[in-house]
């Protein structure tokens, strides 16, 4: 085993080097968020001084955050993001699980075609639907409404596909049949027997949908016109247009936008990775 130990000796510096490269943009952003504009120009990370560790801690400031949440209505954008991402995640997971259950556990005419339709829906590229989708939202009167953002997401094809796989693999048919013989209704079987079994997939899909919606830009950018409806992604970009020189504040806004996601990920790492890799496993 001596050979692999020498290999490890080279491995660690390399991995540490790549880790630093990965972490530097985060560190730089966090430092910039707490600096005034003068210190942004004068110091790379934290301003130097005679405080602890040679850093002028007293020069760090919350001014960027108070300005963002005070004058610039960042709280509203944050609430919009939380609302849109959590509602989309809940609706999409429910609709996905329902559709997946139908395709996995029912024999019916047209099942094969429905499964093909779901697969086909998955590969339709989003940009193709941008222009006609906008025109349709205009005619339906859904432009600049939350409903216009939420309604299209309530039964994502990708979710139906994932839940179908998960239910096929983990929910025994005997269980469902036994419940039917006991006289349980179909909705009750789905809600009290099927859903608990596929809880890992529910967790994973809730999270990838939340993340995807939180980071979505092009959809809300096209749909919303009033600034008070903007989620963080759109709000930050429009902030850049107006306050392009206010670097500290832009970084504070970016930090506010990505911190919740990073915290969520640290808490729920396993589900996250499971959700991301679930799509790559063919079934």
């Amino acid at each position: 085993m001596k050979k692999s130990n020498t290999a490890l000796l080279f491995l660690y510096p390399l991995l540490v080097f790549f880790s630093i490269l990965t972490l530097v943009p985060f560190a730089w952003m966090i430092c910039a968020a707490f600096k005034g504009n003068a210190d942004f120009f004068n110091s790379l990370f934290l301003p130097q001084g005679d405080g602890f560790l040679g850093i002028a801690w007293h020069r760090l400031t919350f001014a960027n955050f108070t300005k963002l949440f005070g004058e610039l209505g960042m709280l509203r954008a944050t609430m919009n993001s939380v609302f849109l991402a959590s509602t989309t995640a809940l609706l999409g997971t429910l609709g996905g699980a329902m559709g997946g259950y139908a395709l996995a556990k029912f024999e019916f005419r047209g099942r094969k075609w429905m499964t093909r339709l779901v697969l086909a829906a998955m590969i339709i590229p989003g940009p193709l639907l941008m222009a006609p989708g906008y025109q349709m939202m205009y005619h339906l009167g859904l432009l600049d409404t939350y409903a216009g953002m939420l309604l299209p997401t309530i039964a994502p094809a990708f979710g139906i596909f994932l839940f179908r796989q998960s239910i096929l693999n983990s929910v025994p048919m005997e269980l469902i049949e036994a419940a039917r013989i006991d006289g349980a209704g179909e909705v009750r079987i789905f809600a009290t027997m099927v859903l608990p079994i596929i809880r890992p997939m529910i967790g994973a899909f809730l999270m990838i949908t939340f993340l995807g919606t939180w980071n979505n830009f092009i959809g809300p950018q096209i749909l919303f016109q009033s600034p008070e409806k903007f989620p963080l992604s759109v709000a930050i970009n429009s902030l850049k247009g107006v306050y392009g020189q206010d670097y500290g504040m832009l970084m504070a806004g970016t930090l506010v936008s990505i911190a919740p996601i990073l915290v969520l990920f640290l808490l729920l790492q396993k589900e996250f990775i499971a959700g991301l890799t679930a799509g790559s496993v063919k079934g």
Binding site: S4, T22, A102, F108, I123, P132, F217, I261
Partner: protein
């Protein structure tokens, strides 16, 4: 009452949310997109039929060709710079005896959580002249280096590729790592005992094993890169100097939502869709050939 049997309607009731949203928000816009691509529009209201004019104009439109060229170059960079790095990192991390493995994995993966808009934001300031991290750091290492150097004016594509690297290397690494963990150790060890060097072991044992997942990652990476929009849009605040950061989807967006011609935008959308379909069919054929 025949217990234990389900009414034929039940599965359809569970499928109602999908059927309704698919019909209204996917199928109808899809057919409309086809109709629109033969029209010229001024905003969502007024349309004029123009026949094949949109497609004919597309092939002589210099902006379309610039956008296509930029998009293809970016996609090639994703394939030949990003993916090898991802696989390399996965190989480095694929050692059970490595201490702190999950910490490294966590660090490398963390940028994938950051949305493209926010990555564009961070990197637009990193590449900023005078105050950006890159100039300040280079100036500190080599004082001859000018603080004023405007990276985003001179190196549009490299800046885009670097920002995308930061975002995606760890993301793709997760897939490669998951695939590598399914390669049986005995197989690699046996090849080692037979005298195969590390490179031979990788090419003849590991690579064939992870090929299906690698094919999937390659496809995902190409499809994603061809639809690049947010990153340059925020990083450059638009299409960049001389449109060097203009991508196909950005051109579609500008045409449809800045100029207001939803018809021409739809025509661009169909060309993009054809390219994506071609890539997908090509990858499928290749991977089927690989399995034989």
């Amino acid at each position: 009452m025949n217990k234990g049997r389900t009414p034929a309607m039940t599965p359809w009731i569970f499928l109602i949310p999908f059927l309704l949203t698919f019909a209204v928000f996917t199928l109808y816009p899809l057919t409309q997109s086809f109709v629109l691509s033969f029209q010229q529009t001024f905003g969502p209201r007024s349309t004029v039929p123009v026949g094949f004019e949109n497609f004919r104009y597309l092939f002589t439109d210099p902006l379309f060709w610039i956008a296509l060229k930029n998009t293809v170059i970016f996609t090639l960079c994703s394939l030949f710079v990003q993916l090898p790095l991802s696989l390399g990192l996965a190989l480095l991390l694929n050692r059970p005896e490595l201490k702190g493995r999950s910490l490294f994995r966590l660090i490398f993966f963390a940028p994938s959580l950051v949305g493209l808009v926010f990555v564009g934001m961070i990197f637009s300031l990193i590449f900023e002249k005078r105050t950006g991290l890159l100039n300040v750091a280079l100036h500190a290492i080599a004082p001859a280096f000018p603080l004023e150097f405007p990276w985003l004016q001179n190196y549009v594509m490299p800046a885009l590729v670097i920002a995308a690297l930061w975002l995606y290397v760890g993301f793709n690494m997760i897939y490669f790592l998951a695939a590598l963990q399914t390669v049986p150790d005995e197989l690699v060890d046996a090849a080692g005992i037979d005298g195969a060097g590390p490179w031979d072991r990788f090419v003849h044992v590991t690579l064939p094993h992870i090929l299906p997942v690698a094919g999937f990652v390659v496809l995902l990476s190409i499809l994603g890169s061809l639809q690049l929009f947010e990153l340059p849009f925020v990083l450059l605040g638009g299409s960049g100097p001389e449109n060097r950061g203009l991508t196909l989807v950005m051109y579609l967006y500008n045409t449809g939502f800045v100029t207001g011609d939803l018809g021409y935008a739809s025509a661009i959308g169909w060309v993009l869709a054809l390219i994506l379909a071609g890539v997908t069919i090509g990858q499928r054929a290749l991977s089927r050939k690989g399995e034989e």
